[in-house]
Amino acid sequence: MTILSGPVRVGTPARQRVGRVGLYLALAAVAALFFVPFLWSLITSVKTLPDSVRFSLWPQHPTLAGYRDALTTFNFGRYALNSAIVATVITACNVVLAGLGGYAFARLRFPGRDALFLLVLASLMIPDQLRLVPVYQMVSSLGLVSTFQGYILIKLIEATNLFFMRQYFLSLPRDLEEAAKLDNAGYFKTFWRVMLPLAGPAIASVVILEFQGIWNEFFWPLLILQDQSKWTLPIGIAQFSFAYQTNWPPLMAASVIAILPVLLLFVLLQRYFVAGATTAAVKA
């Protein structure tokens, strides 16, 4: 069992097998536990509305009406497209800016670096509810309300991503940079040719987290993207909630559909989370 990324201890084959089976059972149980609520939304999405408000493990009359309603009641395609646009642009910006910034904070020396990094940390500490009015006023005075640019502008770079990249760069061994410096490579070249390839896992993480964050975000898009034609998926999905009732089947159906792109992205980027990728890059 190589749980702790160490070398395999040799035990008797039978004991090892029992241990492995036990591990997989435990993992499956935990995975099931993590999965249950999603399973619940899947089941609810194929129920009828009266059926969905009561507890039952299986729909009485399974129907795809929820999915039909989800896709036709409001402009699902439009909202999905809007979400895709803002999520892609914002994620790309974040990867570039967090990468450059994180590297600078980790490896470059410039006066006031530590103070500026405190500014990065401080940005994490300000609740959205407190920033709401000044930020909205700024976006409004720039005439960017109801535009993608306005929303993208305030999300251009998030402190979490920059912080994360910095920590990751800090944990990389220094010898690679030293080697690059001896080759008299410029700072950007060192960054581009040496550090960035090594930061595969970190960048993959930022891509997953930022894309997922924007894809599911409700608060700022609601405030800034007021025009119905600019709405993103979460706002659209919220249309199924009303003051005294929630139209669960289409809401769950839409949520199920909305999860798929993020899940796909996650699975596709897993190849960057392979042990030894870093070492291989180093040796290259």
């Binding site: 990324s5 410039f110 500490m125 407190l130 009015v133 251009l156 994360f164 990389l172």
Partner: protein, 299 residues
């Protein structure tokens, strides 16, 4: 060129590149975070409404805050919540990362399964949890199968409501923490483990003496980010208690009170005072953490 001058111009070049790399991020943070915070600090000494300044108050908002029973209850709840959720989700996330980092079958499947709760929208998840934790919901039914009391209203009982939110958030955040640690684990070169094996170190010792210290930059990040996030908890408390912070004030959080002062009472100055107090506290906590974990680098 004399060596000294070469050194100086090299350092200047490095500094310029450094500034160039951080220019855009710093501008964004300054505009959308620092400026609003300074604005909040400014208006916190006024009676400030939607239309702007109403009256200069000096420290009256802060003095009122000291006497505000609801606020201090919120502080207590928020601190309790933070301690519980961080202690629960951080080891869980790390454990999951270690497991899915190893050579197990169907690794990608398990990684996706553990990350799943973090993918779904928080509104959908909260709604699901309310349903599952209702007095005739799934959890109680399962408890009933085991002969345990099966009629607790989890979100309606002041003994359990906050803990239920802890469970909910730990469940959704542990996947994200897993992802962070998973990335960090990739930066540990495998020869480190090979060296440990050569030294005949046990797996447990390897973990504590080698892996954990090498994860220090990740620890600092995870703890800083999750503690800050926990102290700002709002969404679930708001949804579950319908904005009331009940039952019996048990789900009142700092940001919930801030929100109420700003949005319901339209007392932006008072809300800003709360924000300043929260910020000061967060800043202190993070600085303390920095002292503990430092600007560690891999050796």
């Amino acid at each position: 060129m004399p060596r000294a001058r070469a050194g100086w111009s090299q350092r200047r070049k490095e500094a310029l590149v450094g500034y160039a790399f951080v220019l855009v991020p710093m501008s964004v943070f300054a505009a959308f975070y620092l400026f609003p915070m300074l604005y909040a600090a400014y208006i916190s000494v006024f009676d400030w409404g939607v239309r702007g300044k109403i009256e200069y108050l000096g420290l009256a908002n802060y003095r009122e805050l000291l006497d505000d029973g609801l606020f201090w209850r919120a502080v207590r709840n928020t601190l309790q919540y933070t301690a519980e959720v961080v202690v629960l989700q951080t080891p869980l996330g790390l454990a999951l990362a270690l497991i899915v980092n190893g050579k197990i079958r169907a690794r990608t499947f398990f990684r996706a399964a553990f990350y799943f709760p973090s993918i779904a929208s928080s509104a959908a998840i909260t709604a699901i949890f309310i349903f599952i934790l209702s007095s005739d919901g799934l959890v109680n039914r399962v408890l009933g199968w085991f002969g345990l009391p099966a009629d607790t209203s989890w979100f309606g009982d002041d003994r359990f409501a906050l803990h239920a939110i802890v469970g909910l958030n730990a469940w959704t955040t542990s996947g994200t923490i897993m992802l962070f640690y998973l990335a960090a684990l990739q930066s540990i070169p495998t020869d480190v483990y090979e060296a440990a094996a050569i030294d005949r170190a046990s797996r447990w010792r390897t973990f504590w003496k080698v892996t954990m210290p090498l994860l220090k930059p990740a620890h600092f990040f995870v703890l800083a980010v999750t503690i800050i996030g926990a102290l700002k908890v709002f969404d679930q408390a708001y949804i579950v208690s319908r904005g009331e912070g009940g039952p019996n004030y048990s789900t009142l959080t700092i940001v919930l009170e801030l929100f109420r002062a700003a949005i319901n009472d339209l007392r932006f100055g008072y809300a800003a005072a709360m924000g300043v107090v929260l910020f000061a506290f967060l800043f202190t906590v993070t600085l303390l953490q920095r002292r503990l974990f430092g600007n560690s680098e891999a050796s």
